[in-house]
Symmetry: C2
């Protein structure tokens, strides 16, 4: 087992096109969102296991001895990830004092950690390692940005690396490295088990994006990575208007049942938008008439935003977002469930800092959270401390010192 402190990170995800339509058998494009979750893992010899989740004000610590029950409860093979059984989940809940049916973020994060820690460690050891884990995320939780998947991916990558089930690639000074393809496969599979604990029946899209980054196509339950995807600058805005994904999905279904010949074609149009977007992203990578390609991306965003309003998942907060950015000639759409939640605004490579700042200011003035970031970037990564952005590095150091 490695004795170094490791820092890993995984991106969030946004749906670029195809939200809701995907429920009705159409193509969706999911892309990595470079708001990342960082996990620092340090192996220690104090006989304790600690997990610190400052975003949700949670820090738990157990005697390793108290966790020994995991070895008998979880009979896992590290190379063949499998989901927690109901019986295992019940035992983990009982141990952590989480009542049945308790599905708050904190409870689910703890259950996810205990299962992945137990399954990945127990499968290759007779005794459980002592460690301190610190997870900090740039992603808001519950906003449809794949924060739970980023957490699961980081946990899987860190635990698998820590117990040497996968290699520990050495980042150069100031560097960031990634794992080999088969190791990413393993990380993704364990992360998916974590996601199942948290979400019950996840699509697997979020953990795949968290693991591989870039973009993927999701269609009829199948996940297909896109080979050629540029990194695109965006504004990611959280309107903070709460919504129920379930209610929104049901609303679209009702509308489709009410007006099949009106709404059906819209879903087909959204499908075609995803496909056109895929072609356009490939054209940008190939360097074909970039200016024109960006204009197409903008047009697709505008069209889809109209379609999403038509199928009933718009919201006045999102209309205001679109209007505010349109004043700066920027194009926005909701991403994910809609009905509030988050929106993305495409920035061109040459969009000036003053336009970006003015747009952010306008969105902040409306009470929204807004990040300038990018999509389509790398997936789960291992960082040398010096390779981290200074603010992230300082934050992790400060949080470590507080432990």
């Amino acid at each position: 087992m490695t004795d170094k402190t490791l820092i890993v990170s995984a991106p969030g995800k946004v749906i670029l096109h195809g939200e809701h339509a995907v429920v009705h058998g159409k193509v969706a494009l999911a892309v990595s969102l470079n708001l990342r979750t960082y996990l620092q893992i340090g192996l220690c010899s104090n006989g304790r296991v600690q997990i610190n989740l400052p975003n949700i004000d949670t820090c738990l610590s157990w005697e390793s001895a108290a966790l020994q029950f995991l070895l008998t409860t979880i009979d896992a093979d590290v190379l063949n990830p499998k989901a927690a059984s109901q019986e295992q989940v019940d035992k983990l809940r009982q141990f952590a004092g989480i009542p049945d049916g308790c599905v708050d973020t904190r409870s689910l994060a703890i259950l996810c950690f205990l299962y992945l820690y137990g399954a990945i460690s127990a499968s290759s050891r007779y005794c459980l390692p002592s460690m301190e884990i610190l997870v900090w995320s740039e992603l808001p939780t519950g906003a449809g940005l794949g924060s739970s998947a980023a957490y699961s991916v980081c946990l899987a990558a860190a635990l698998l690396t820590a117990n040497e089930s996968i290699a520990c690639p050495v980042p150069e000074e100031n560097g960031t490295v990634r794992w080999a393809e088969d190791e990413l496969e393993l990380i993704n599979k364990w992360a998916f088990q974590g996601e199942k604990l948290i979400h019950g029946n996840p699509s697997g899209v979020d953990n795949a994006v968290g693991t591989w980054g870039g973009a993927l196509k999701y269609h009829a339950g199948k996940i297909m990575p896109l080979n050629r995807i540029p990194t695109l600058r965006i504004l990611l805005t959280n309107t903070k208007v709460p919504r129920s994904t379930k209610t929104l999905v049901a609303g679209v279904k009702d509308k489709l049942n009410k007006f099949p010949s009106i709404i059906g074609p819209i879903l087909n149009s959204i499908d075609a938008i995803s496909c056109e977007c895929e072609r356009t992203l490939a054209a940008i990578v190939a360097g074909d008439s970039t200016e024109e390609s960006y204009a197409v991306l903008e047009e697709l965003i505008d069209i889809n935003q109209h379609h999403l309003n038509v199928i009933g998942v718009g919201h006045s907060s999102l209309d205001r977002l679109c209007q505010a950015t349109a004043l700066h000639s920027l194009h926005s759409k909701l991403t994910g469930a809609g009905g509030g939640g988050c929106g993305i605004t495409l920035l061109r490579p040459d969009t000036s800092p003053s336009v970006v700042e003015a747009s952010k200011r306008a969105l902040n003035d409306m009470g929204y959270d807004c990040w300038e970031t990018n999509i389509g970037g790398h997936g789960v990564s291992l960082h040398s401390p010096s390779s981290l952005q200074r603010d992230v590095s300082q934050l992790l150091t400060r949080l470590t010192d507080c432990q």
Copy 2:
């Protein structure tokens, strides 16, 4: 020939659904707009023919003798309307001093009058009748509201009635009457010839709506009247933003060529909206769950407005119109060519006067013209002077006195 003064009126038209999509073989619904054109015709014995068009500051008067050339130029059969030949048009232009290629409203209105007057009168007489005609319209011209068709319909109805080619139904005191079906057919056919002189290659939709009122379905060049249509209250708003129908139509075609699989389904969805609207109008007439039917009409308006934006014929002036009325829970869409021009806002039977007033005020404050009126009402009609709304009656009297 009747020796009374006759007053006839014909409605304008709006496209309820299907504008632009109709160009691509989809269904459009056109309905009568109760902003009307009024024509007062008085036969006299002063040997003169006068036409007064105060909306366009035009009043022309000729000696009947000077118009005798029409008898030889136009060899028409009143029961078999036919279009003016190029040679006839040339002679009319020459007579009226309208240079070739001159297509301003005034020139076209005069040509239309001369042709209909000549053709309808000449076909049944050896000498031309002396008359004074006054036409006044509530319809703005060039706004896609069928003002030229309402003018042609009024001219045809008045001239045919004046020379007894069709009966002169006697309106009761305070009454309004209409012609028999075969007479309406004849009025419509002559009005269509007038429209051809003005527009070159009209669809025939506008004059059909002006003649029969109500609503009609237009599909693949065929005009089918709808049997069951309620009168709906609306606001008709003219943003007064000028636009080129030709450019807008070409833009939709370009967009369809650029993104066939994205835009094609939208046109199908618009087609389905027209059909659903037709069903819903019939349900309202049948008295089926009116509340629900109005909610459907509102939903169709919202969806179509999004679609019209998607196909590129929206405009910020129309967005503002929709937003302003949405603040009062009213639903609006553009009507006709888009890119500015006019919009319609549906009012429910129970929409309160205060909501209507507030909406009108908001729209006026934006610099738009706004009328509270209705759609689906009656077509060309003959009025007793006392049956006219007092303001129309006073206006016609005042304008007559000025002649």
